[in-house]
């Protein structure tokens, strides 16, 4: 990896009350978000949640209906995309099929009217960093998907933007290359120190790559936190169910004096917990395959190291991830250690207990 690519002057990005609607659809409800300089933030959520809309608002391809976008002390929301100094990588890569990789990567530089020698130097340098120097003379259709993807990153990075935007950059790659590309993008981003936003619907990708993750649903931000925090203390029931695989077990019910009750399921909880309607959550790996809760074994799937057990407990399905031995068909017992439980109120908001 070459060290003379510009380094470490990413800018902080600040979104203030940013909102966008398409007709009667609120694509993005007013959003406040602060991204630190040099940070990689993932926007995570199901499709149609507003994550790509937000990205395109930052890029300047959509005009915001309300709110402001700040790159450091520069307000950019009124600017044309070309004046914002952003680089962007698209899901389809969006390389120009009639140009060679060299001309693709050179395109942003040519628009800046840099002298030919300078264009050549910078294109070759970034191509070297991304190991596509050998392919520069070819057209996009003549190189592999992984090389196309790296060419797209090179084109976004070659003008050394203050902010890098990545829209599902890995979803068109084969599973094997995807893991490798994940690491490469992360390493490159850290090395260049460019502030980056990554849009993805793949939670493992978000958790693996990002410094912090913003979880969206229905145009609203649900939580913005570091991956550990997101996993250990989801802010609401949606984040709890969306982040982590297999997903967290959630039960709608009620807390009544030292017990959580949901239909026939009764889970002992500390008596200090507030009484009232609530949702109880526990991650599959936190459930123990022994205890006083009785259930029925439905399926178990060996997953290599672990065993994924699906059990039925008083009409609820419970998933358990256990390193344990294969089970006999029939009944089993479970327990939910109380210190591993997550509690959400009737609106789904996390209760700190």
């Amino acid at each position: 990896m070459s060290a003379d690519v510009r380094n470490g002057d990413g800018v902080p990005v600040s979104l203030r009350g940013l909102a966008k609607r398409f007709g009667s659809v609120e694509a993005l409800k007013p959003l406040d978000l602060d991204i630190a300089a040099g940070e990689l933030v993932a926007f995570l959520g199901p499709s149609g949640c507003g994550k790509t809309t937000t990205l395109l608002l930052i890029a300047g391809i959509y005009k915001a209906d309300e709110g402001e976008v700040w790159f450091a002390d520069r307000r950019v929301d009124g600017l044309h995309p070309r004046d914002r100094d952003v680089g962007m990588v698209f899901q389809s890569y969006a390389l120009y099929p009639h140009l060679t990789l060299f001309e693709n990567i050179a395109y942003p530089l040519r628009l800046k009217r840099l002298p030919d020698a300078e264009v050549k130097r910078r294109v070759e340098q970034i191509a070297e960093v991304l190991s596509i120097a050998e392919q520069l003379g070819r057209r996009p259709s003549q190189v592999s998907g992984g090389q196309q993807q790296r060419a797209a990153i090179a084109r976004a990075q070659v003008k050394e933007p203050s902010v890098m935007l990545l829209d599902e950059p890995l979803s068109n790659l084969d599973a094997q290359i995807r893991l490798q590309a994940r690491g490469e993008i992360r390493r490159l981003q850290k090395e260049l120190g460019v502030t980056s936003v990554l849009v993805t619907h793949d939670q493992s990708e978000a958790l693996a790559m990002a410094d912090r993750v913003a979880v969206f649903r229905d145009g609203a931000l649900h939580q913005f936190a570091a991956p550990d925090e997101l996993y250990a203390r989801p802010a609401d029931a949606f984040v709890a169910s969306f982040v982590g695989f297999p997903p967290m077990n959630l039960f709608d019910g009620e807390v009544v004096s030292g017990e959580f009750v949901s239909g026939g399921l009764r889970v002992p909880v500390p008596s200090s917990w507030p009484a009232g309607p609530a949702t109880l959550g526990i991650r599959p790996e936190d459930v123990l395959l022994e205890g006083e809760i009785e259930g029925e074994l439905l399926v178990y799937e060996p997953q290599g190291r672990d065993l994924l057990v699906t059990a039925s407990v008083s009409g609820h399905q419970v998933q358990v991830l256990s390193p344990g031995r294969p089970l006999e068909a029939g009944s089993l017992t479970l327990s939910f250690p109380w210190e591993r439980l997550h509690l959400f109120d009737a609106q789904g908001v996390r209760l700190e207990v």
């Binding site: 395109l56 890029a59 300047g60 391809i61 044309h80 995309p81 070309r82 952003v86 680089g87 962007m88 698209f90 899901q91 389809s92 969006a94 390389l95 120009y96 099929p97 009639h98 395109y107 942003p108 628009l111 800046k112 084109r155 976004a156 003008k159 935007l165």
Partner: protein
């Protein structure tokens, strides 16, 4: 579903039967232009080059055939160039930009496409008179261009619609203006469409008769179609050998253009291809 050999022969036979009258017509032109007398398509006279004398001399008060050829080239080439240039810009705007009245404009183009041009002949005549372009090549080129624009816009809009939005967004972020994107990204990507439209409009204009016939009077601006027509509508008896030779002379450039451009035309009929 692939056809069995026997079925193939039947299809070929049917197609041949339908094509025979046209083939006979062309045979007549070729044979008639090199023979003094023809019965049906059987040459009964002597083989001769006499019918081709129009290449070297002016017939009656007609202009030289070379003047007519040059005029036809200018006419067809001018129409082709103008239609492609203007349609490309209009089609890109309709396909990609949002501007007030876009839907309305789209509908209008479609209606105009279906509008028979002949019904506007007299109106066009007045417009040309007012503009002082009557009896000039420029005038006919403009009228023909405007009649062909709706088709060109619709055709190219289809090609532009095929370009992914992400590509356009990428160019915007890369720092390009819309005009720049149009020139350096969109136009090269619809090149097959541009070529197809150019060839198609050239051929249509090459064969056009009504417009030049209506708007051109003086011999120096005659096109080949007028030249050919003048040999049929004369007081003197038509010299069929001569008509055949002029007809052959008229059709050859079109055939050449078609042969060069046919792969683009195929693109057009299959609705465009990806670069």
């Amino acid at each position: 579903m692939p056809l069995r050999p026997r079925a193939w022969w039947l299809v070929l036979l049917l197609l041949a039967a339908i094509t025979v009258p046209i083939v006979v017509g062309y045979l007549w032109i070729v044979i008639g232009s090199f023979n003094t007398r023809v019965h049906g398509i059987t040459p009964v006279g002597e083989w001769t080059l006499e019918n081709w004398r129009f290449l070297g001399e002016r017939l009656g008060r007609r202009p030289s055939i070379w003047t007519a050829l040059l005029n036809t080239l200018l006419f067809a080439g001018g129409v082709s160039l103008l239609v492609v240039t203007v349609s490309a810009m209009a089609a890109y705007a309709i396909s990609r930009l949002s501007f007030p009245g876009r839907g309305w404009f789209l509908g209008l183009v479609l209606v105009l496409h279906a509008f028979p041009a002949v019904s506007l002949l007299i109106a066009s005549y007045y417009v040309l008179r007012v503009m002082g372009l009557f009896d000039s090549l420029v005038g006919v080129v403009l009228v023909m261009t405007s009649f062909m624009m709706p088709f060109g816009i619709w055709l190219l809009k289809g090609f532009f619609d095929n370009i992914s939005w992400e590509m356009e967004m990428a160019a915007l972020v890369d720092g390009a203006s819309r005009w720049r994107i149009f020139r350096t990204i969109a136009l090269p990507l619809v090149r097959p469409g541009l070529f197809a439209l150019a060839v198609f409009t050239f051929l249509v204009a090459w064969g056009e008769f009504i417009l030049p016939y209506t708007f051109i009077v003086s011999g120096r601006t005659w096109t080949l179609s007028i030249y050919l027509q003048s040999m049929l509508g004369d007081f003197e008896r038509a010299d069929y050998g001569l008509v055949a030779a002029v007809g052959l002379f008229y059709v050859l450039p079109a055939v050449a253009v078609f042969l060069v451009g046919q792969r683009y035309l195929l693109d057009m009929y299959f609705g465009g291809s990806k670069g």
